[in-house]
């Protein structure tokens, strides 16, 4: 971040807070392709806040949420007791020429590959799984209608049916056919559970998208796909085999770090709702289908020449194992 931008933010905060504001230790943090994140220490004279300035990347072309919407979600989640980085100020886009907001900086790491193997992080794993359950229950406690979240579209049909319909529409116009995904989509349609009331669903709640330090969970991140949906969608996403970072077996079913029983116990603690693995199974299949569709689209960004990237190219090659696992989970095996 250029020093002129830093100064603009400091002056703007000084006017807002009536305090002499200085920014220091400004440095780039690794982030997604859509955002640009900067760590900064914000000195307010009587207090130094460890903060993150989260901006749109200059080349942002995305249908995910805007920074303004993400800020509204962080506020709603924070108010409902979800462990998120405390939202501080929504930025004035004129300052940086793009949207941004400022939030508190959480400690620890989000790196999934590291977390599943390094037991010095969140070393009480059953406690971490229970904590994740409590966090999800708090997110799902947020229900429509909400004026502050009115930018989130309300699904008009069952959210799973909406997904099936949009996936088929995409596959119909795509240059390659995916017979195994068609099989999975039919299964989702044939086995769809009755719709329950809509609630806020994070939709990317998995290992890699929450931060932990040596004591446990410090922040739930990445709210850019959040929407109104079915609560079990989040549980299926978190438990799906494709997000276990290579860990195997029931003891690691929850994002490669814990057992479903602990996750469900934490969920029940807050929501009062008792979950079973059978109920979540449908949404684990759903998670594989959804991830496969996202992976195809990410790979296409490379394949089309729009954004040449080895990481995106390899994402396409995740699709086959998702397909085979979907066939397995839905009773088709050779």
């Amino acid at each position: 971040m250029q020093s002129v931008e830093q100064k603009a933010i400091a002056d703007w905060l000084a006017a807002k807070t009536g305090k002499p504001v200085q920014l220091s230790n400004v440095r780039a943090l690794s982030g997604g392709a859509i955002q640009e994140n900067w760590a900064a220490d914000i000195d307010l004279g009587d207090e130094v806040i460890a903060a993150v300035i989260r901006c749109d990347a200059p080349s942002s072309v995305s249908d995910s949420l805007s920074r303004q919407q993400e800020f509204a979600l962080l506020k709603a989640a924070f108010a409902n007791g979800v462990t998120v980085p405390g939202p501080l100020w929504l930025g004035d886009p004129a300052l940086l020429g793009r949207d941004f907001f400022i939030m508190r900086r959480a400690n620890g790491t989000a790196a999934g590959h590291r977390l599943v193997r390094d037991l010095s992080l969140a070393n009480d794993r059953p406690a971490l799984a229970r904590q994740l359950g409590r966090e999800l229950a708090r997110i799902h406690g947020i229900r429509p209608p909400r004026d502050d979240l009115d930018f989130l579209p309300l699904p008009e049909i069952h959210p799973a049916q909406e997904f099936v319909d949009s996936a088929r529409a995409f596959l119909d116009q795509y240059h390659s056919a995916f017979p195994a995904l068609e099989w999975g989509l039919n299964w989702l349609e044939d086995n769809m559970p009755a719709q329950e009331p809509l609630c806020l669903v994070h939709r990317d709640f998995r290992t890699g998208n929450y931060m932990v330090d040596e004591n446990g969970l410090t922040a739930v991140l990445d709210w850019e796909f959040t929407g109104w949906s079915q609560p079990l969608e989040d549980l299926g996403w978190l438990c799906a085999r494709c997000w276990r970072f290579g860990q195997q077996g029931d003891d690691y079913a929850v994002g490669g770090i814990g057992h479903r029983d602990d996750l469900f116990a934490g969920y029940q603690e807050v929501s009062g709702r008792k979950l079973t693995a059978e109920q979540v199974y449908y949404w684990e299949v759903f998670a594989h289908l959804r991830w496969a569709m996202i992976a195809i689209k990410q790979g296409e960004r490379h394949l089309s020449g729009a954004e040449p990237s080895l990481e995106l190219a390899l994402t396409s090659h995740i699709v086959p194992e998702l397909e085979l696992h979907i066939l397995r989970m839905t009773g088709l095996e050779g």
């Binding site: 017979p179 080895l310 397909e323 085979l324 088709l332 050779g334």
Partner: protein
């Protein structure tokens, strides 16, 4: 006649070089890039070693079971449509076909899955 070593041999040699000599001393963010590169070389090597034989066999089998002629892509599209219309569910040969073509993709793209899941 191409000169030896051939493409597969070169990819194997590059893999060994990156894995044994470059990776161990690389910085953390470089290691991630190197692992991606090794993964990509592995996929390319397996595709090169398989050639087009598996795809031709698949095409012939799809043509036979679907009783249609066409390119691999056209027949895959037809298989996909038949799955969506529910015609594959009740046909053991078509179910087996769907399994086999999916399995073949995994053998090339992610053989680790087969090692983990058997």
């Amino acid at each position: 006649m191409r000169i030896q070593p051939d493409g597969i041999n070169l990819l194997d040699t590059v893999t060994a070089l990156l894995r044994d000599q470059v990776l161990p001393s690389a910085a953390a963010d470089q290691q991630y890039a190197l692992r991606m590169a090794l993964n990509a070389i592995g996929i390319a090597r397996r595709q090169l070693a398989n050639g087009s034989q598996a795809e031709q066999q698949e095409q012939a089998l799809m043509a036979e079971l679907l009783a249609e002629q066409g390119s691999h892509e056209q027949l895959s599209r037809l298989l996909a449509r038949q799955v969506r219309e529910g015609k594959v569910k009740s046909s053991m040969p078509l179910r087996d076909l769907l399994w086999q073509v999916t399995l073949q993709r995994v053998r090339e793209s992610a053989p680790r899955y087969l090692k983990q899941e058997g």
